[in-house]
Symmetry: C2
Subunit: 77 residues, 2 copies
Amino acid sequence: MSKPIFYHAGCSVCVSAEHDIINLIGKDNVEVVHLGEDRSRIMEAEQAGIQSVPALVTPSGNVLHINFGAAMADVKG
Amino acid sequence: MSKPIFYHAGCSVCVSAEHDIINLIGKDNVEVVHLGEDRSRIMEAEQAGIQSVPALVTPSGNVLHINFGAAMADVKG
């Protein structure tokens, strides 16, 4: 894994944090995954240890839960 | 405010997040404030809207609470 991955679900907290992360890290330096639109990656996010979104998984595999938008249980619906 | 400011209190969650943020943003691109050692900045952190540490305040003034190390009430002691 070479880039950090930002997982979100389109909520307002998520979108605000996405803008902040892109401004801080640079658009080309982070992969953004919308779990509401790309549900095939929910399992990957859970396996990475994500409990809520928005969250950033670092290249070393650490999970940074950023503020609180929605629990993964709600994202899974 | 030109740089983001990372506030922490020396807890293990804080130190881990500090390493991640420095790796992501670059050491020269973020100011790190240890509120346990620099208690004169606790009021500034609270006024920025920080409720727990570690937290990152963006140049635009948004607060990103990252994971959860300690509540500000505990930092204030």
